[in-house]
C-alpha cells in the first residue's frame, strides 16, 4: 500500500480528470493506472458490458497487446465474466492454482507472468455494468486496505461513467455505456492509423495520441476521432511526434 500522501495525490488527480475537460476514455485510463499504483499491482484493466451482455475492453493501465488479449478472452471465461454475472468480487486469485476454475484464462495469465489477480464488479444500483481486474506478478493477494481502496476506485469509475450526481433518466445508463464503448473503438482506430504513419507499435501510438491531446488541452477521444476522420489532422498529430523525437 502506497503512502497516504501519494494516495491523496492520486485521488485528487482522478477527481480532476473527472471535472476538467472530461474525456471518458482518458478518465478510465487514469482510474486504472491509479489503481495499479495504489495497490502496487502490475496491471489493472476495466471491461464494460455491451447491450447484449458481451464484456468489452474499455481501459487499462498498460496498452500491452498481450494484456489486452487477456482481457478480451474473458468474454468466454475468467474472473471478469464471473464478477459481471454474479455482481460480486472474485477475490484472492492465485493464478498457479486457478486452472481448474478457468482452464483457458489461468494458463494465459500465467504465460504473461501473472501470479495473482482480483476482480471487482462495477455496480450501479442493481445492475452490474462491467468489471475491474487487477493483476500482480507476485502471487500475493490484496491486503484489506488495498482491497477497500481498489473497490472505491471501481465505484469512482462507475460514477465517472455516469457523469452526473444523480441519474435523471433511466435511459442515461444505456446511452452512456454505448457512447463509452464506441469511444473506445475510435481510440483503437486512431491507434492503428498513428502506428502505421509513425511506424511504431500501437501501444506507443496511444501514448502519442494522449500526449498530443494533453499538450493541446483537448479531450482524448475528440483528438482520436479527428485523426481518423481528417488526413491533415492525422498529419499534424504525427508531425508533432516526429518533431519531438528529434529534439
Amino acid at each position: 500500500m502506497i503512502s497516504s500522501s501519494r494516495l491523496s495525490d492520486l485521488f485528487v488527480e482522478v477527481a480532476d480528470t473527472l471535472v476538467d475537460e472530461f474525456d471518458l476514455v482518458d478518465f478510465l485510463h487514469h482510474v486504472t493506472s491509479s489503481a495499479a499504483e495504489i495497490t502496487a499491482s502490475t496491471a489493472v484493466g476495466l471491461m464494460l458490458a455491451d447491450h447484449d451482455g458481451t464484456l468489452r475492453f474499455m481501459a487499462s493501465s498498460s496498452e500491452d497487446a498481450r494484456l489486452l488479449d487477456l482481457f478480451q478472452l474473458q468474454n468466454a471465461e475468467g474472473p471478469c465474466l464471473d464478477a459481471h454475472r454474479t455482481g460480486e468480487e472474485v477475490p484472492d486469485i492465485i493464478i498457479e492454482s486457478a486452472a481448474d476454475r478457468w482452464p483457458v484464462f489461468a494458463p494465459r495469465a500465467a504465460e504473461l507472468g501473472f501470479g495473482a489477480a482480483h476482480c471487482f464488479p462495477l455496480r450501479l444500483r442493481d445492475q452490474t455494468i462491467g468489471a475491474m481486474n487487477i493483476f500482480r506478478t507476485e502471487p500475493r493477494t490484496l491486503e484489506d486496505e488495498e482491497r477497500r481502496v481498489a473497490r472505491a476506485l471501481a465505484d469512482v469509475a462507475t460514477i465517472g461513467l455516469m457523469q452526473e450526481r444523480a441519474l435523471r433518466r433511466a435511459e442515461e445508463l444505456t446511452e452512456q455505456l454505448q457512447f463509452a464503448l464506441n469511444s473506445r473503438i475510435v481510440i483503437e482506430q486512431a491507434k492503428g492509423a498513428v502506428a502505421r504513419v509513425l511506424d511504431i507499435g500501437v501501444e506507443e501510438a496511444f501514448t502519442v495520441i494522449r500526449g498530443y491531446a494533453r499538450s493541446h488541452r483537448r479531450p482524448l477521444t475528440e483528438v482520436a476521432r479527428e485523426a481518423v476522420e481528417d488526413r491533415p489532422a492525422l498529419q499534424a498529430l504525427t508531425d508533432s511526434y516526429t518533431r519531438q523525437s528529434r529534439e
Binding site: D50, H51, D52, G87, R123, Q189
Partner: protein, 254 residues
C-alpha cells in the same frame, strides 16, 4: 462497516438472447416487392424492429456531412414521413444521436422531448407520435446514419427491448457497411460472431488500412472483410496479419 457489506442482488447488464430474437424477427420480415438489395434489407430491419418491439414504426436515416437527413428505408409510409421531419425543422433526436455518437432515447416526447426539441415536437404532435428512440449507426469514427424507432405511447424501453433495439442497429450498421448481394434471407447470419471478443485488433487494423491505402474507415473495414472472405479466414486473422505489418492490396492479388 462499508456500504458494500450487505450488497443487494445484482444482475448483469445486457441480454445475450437479443440476437436470437432479432434473427427470428428478421427472417419473418418481408420487404416490399419493388425493393431489393440494400433498401430491401434495411426495410426488413425496420419491419422486424416494429413487429418485435412496442413500436408504431421505424426508419433508417442516412445523415450527410452537411447534416442533411435522408430516409433510406422505412417500415411504412407514415413512418417515412416522420423520418423526414427532422430535416424539415432542422432539429430532432436523430440528429443529436448522430452528432453526439450516442443513443438518444426519448420515452416521452411531449414531456422532456418538448424541452429539448420544441420545433420537432410541434411538428410531430398531431401525428400521434409519443416516443422516439434514435440509435446511431456507427463503428467508432465511422458514422453512417441513424435507426430511428417510433412509439405511439409514452414508454421507457426495458433492458431487453433496448438490447434488441441495439442488435437491430448493429445489423443495420453492418449492412450499410457491406450491402448484401441479392436477396439473402438471413441478414443476421455470422455478423454477430465478429462482435464477440478481440475487436481491439480489428479496429486497430482498420486504422492502419486507412493509412496504407488512403481509404476511409468504412472502406478499410469492407476491404478487410473482402480479404477474409476470399482467403477463407476469419476477419480477426486478416486483422492480425495487418498488425504484423502486412499491407493489403485493393485487388486481392495473392
Amino acid at each position: 462497516m462499508s456500504a458494500h457489506d450487505d450488497l443487494a442482488e445484482s444482475s448483469p447488464a445486457g441480454d445475450p438472447g437479443a440476437w436470437t430474437t432479432a434473427r427470428q424477427a428478421m427472417s419473418a420480415a418481408v420487404a416490399d416487392e419493388s425493393l431489393s438489395g440494400l433498401p430491401a434489407a434495411l426495410q426488413r430491419i425496420c419491419r422486424a424492429a416494429t413487429s418485435s418491439l412496442p413500436l408504431s414504426g421505424a426508419v433508417v436515416q442516412v445523415i450527410t456531412e452537411a447534416r442533411e437527413v435522408v430516409v433510406l428505408a422505412s417500415s411504412d409510409p407514415a413512418s417515412h414521413l416522420l423520418g423526414e421531419i427532422t430535416f424539415t425543422v432542422g432539429e430532432g433526436p436523430c440528429l443529436d444521436a448522430f452528432t453526439m455518437g450516442r443513443p438518444v432515447l426519448v420515452p416521452d416526447l411531449l414531456g422532456e422531448g418538448h424541452l429539448r426539441w420544441p420545433g420537432y415536437v410541434s411538428a410531430i404532435r398531431e401525428g400521434g407520435l409519443r416516443a422516439t428512440y434514435a440509435l446511431p449507426l456507427h463503428v467508432g469514427a465511422v458514422r453512417l446514419g441513424v435507426l430511428e424507432l417510433y412509439g405511439a405511447r409514452v414508454h421507457s424501453l426495458s433492458a431487453a427491448e433496448l438490447s434488441l433495439s441495439l442488435v437491430f442497429a448493429h445489423v443495420a450498421t453492418d449492412i450499410l457497411l457491406e450491402p448484401p448481394s441479392g436477396s439473402s434471407a438471413d441478414l443476421v447470419g455470422d455478423r454477430s460472431a465478429e462482435g464477440l471478443g478481440h475487436w481491439v485488433e480489428i479496429h486497430q487494423a482498420q486504422g492502419m488500412v486507412t493509412v496504407d491505402l488512403g481509404l476511409d474507415l468504412a472502406g478499410a473495414l469492407s476491404l478487410m472483410r473482402a480479404h477474409a472472405f476470399s482467403r477463407e479466414v476469419p476477419l480477426l486473422e486478416v486483422a492480425r496479419m495487418i498488425l504484423a505489418g502486412e499491407r493489403l492490396h485493393v485487388t486481392d492479388e495473392d
